[in-house]
């Protein structure tokens, strides 16, 4: 016999289901008067530092059909590369930037949209700088455990080329699935859940 480690097991995930909006974006689905506004709809204010951008896109299933019932959360550093989190030990992040956003895909078009800023670079575990990126978490009906991916920026070719996470992708043909294309004032990022264009998802 050995000493028991005594660790608990993480609660198992279950799908968010088709009515995730009731809990996470109630105003979006017409349940008004309970919360003043839906959490995560506003990431920036007038004093937020950095370049304003929009992120738009769709989440597509294995047939290329957009999901009209997905929910996406994003988490990113501020313009100086600092996270608005108690676990951020490198300095104080911009108090006018939450770093976290939540958006449902449109019930008709499947489009999602975030209004945010372009993040600064943050270090990898060994201190090398990662390219600017936004972390995404995607849940929906039919997704049993939330999917994690990253958005990188198409106009950061030099930084992307030295990014230690992108460098780990063995099949180089898949790297572009994580690169958002510049599109007007922002970037477009489609997420393919399955198939030939399947987005790289992470076990974080």
């Amino acid at each position: 016999m050995v000493q028991p480690l005594g660790y608990l097991k993480e609660s198992a995930s279950q799908t968010a289901g088709p009515y995730v909006h009731i809990g996470l974006t109630p105003n979006f689905c017409g349940i008004t008067g309970v919360y003043e506004s839906d959490l995560g709809t506003t990431m920036v204010n007038d004093r937020t530092l950095g370049r304003r951008i929009t992120i738009t896109g769709r989440v597509l299933d294995g047939t290329g059909t957009p999901l009209k019932d997905a929910l996406i959360e994003i988490w990113q550093a501020d313009a100086a590369g600092l996270y608005n989190s108690p676990s951020e030990l490198r300095g104080s992040a911009d108090p006018n930037f939450s770093g976290w956003g939540r958006a449902a895909t449109d019930g008709e078009t499947g489009e999602y949209r975030f209004e945010t800023i372009k993040p600064g670079r943050v270090p990898f575990r060994d201190g090398r700088l990662m390219a600017p990126h936004i972390s995404l978490w995607i849940v929906a009906r039919g997704i049993n455990l939330g999917l994690n991916t990253r958005l990188y920026f198409g106009d950061e070719a030099a930084a992307n080329a030295e990014d230690p996470v992108l460098a780990r992708i063995e099949h180089r043909v898949r790297v572009p699935t994580l690169i958002a294309a510049a599109d007007g004032d922002g970037y477009r990022f489609d997420i393919h859940l399955q198939g030939e264009k399947e987005t790289v998802f992470f076990d974080i």
Binding site: Y7, L8, K9, E10, S11, A12, S13, Q14, T15, A16, G17, P18, Y19, V20, I22, G23, L24, P26, C29, G30, G33, V34, Y35, E36, L39, D61, G62, D69, W75, Y83, S85, P86, S87, R90, S98, G99, W100, V122, P123, F124, R125, S135, W137, R141, G142, I143, N144, L145, G146, L147, R168, I169, L193, Q194, E198, V200, F201, F202, D203, I204
Partner: protein, 249 residues
Amino acid sequence: MTDLSNRKPETGAFFSRDRLWHPPGLTPGYKTSVLRSPQKALLSLDGTVSEITGPVFGHSILGELDNDLIHNFAKPGESAIGERIIVHGRVLDERARPVAGALLEFWQANAGGRYRHKKESYLAPLDPNFGGCGRTITDADGHYAFRTVKPGPYPWPNGVNDWRPAHIHFSVFGHGFAQRLITQMYFEGDPMIWKCPIVQTIPDRAAIEQLVAALDWGNTIPMDARAYKFDIVLRGRRSTLFENRMEGN
């Protein structure tokens, strides 16, 4: 966003997720998963600062009735119809330490199994006094509680005669983005748990049982509401023992 404790913030990376314990992506008995599950392997990424940090929410976001689903959508003086229950428990990490300041959001159908959502077409009626959403933040010991009515089971278009057991959806934030979790709580003694294709996406019976809330007679309020106890476990954090990381990361 504020730190709710005086303790030094934890900054270790998280225990890796046991993906044999969680449901896999592809679970054909739950039909929608077939076209919505990745076919390629996940890329492993041990926590960088992007994963070990996460948003923390202060109490300023909460309204007075946010944890009272019996009243938060009801007309003044009225309340939702159904079995009155209190759901409470703790949010812990895998090292059994309380997760303080964790935002919990929950949503559910009404007592007849009807959701307040435009895409829902079940013939059971809406309750004009029930919205179905609530939220709260755990205290310093990781405790939370809310009041609601017990949701009813409802049919769904999967198999020809599939019904969901009574359940409440939970969305949980820990302290790091990698801890983000959505799950469902089931009720002790419900025979429908074991017939459900969504429950059956979880391979291990012990993992399912961990999602079944126990009737908590001790906390039942006489002549008012029964209580169910539901603890939630998030990923543990490594101690930062001998971690070879650059200063400032």
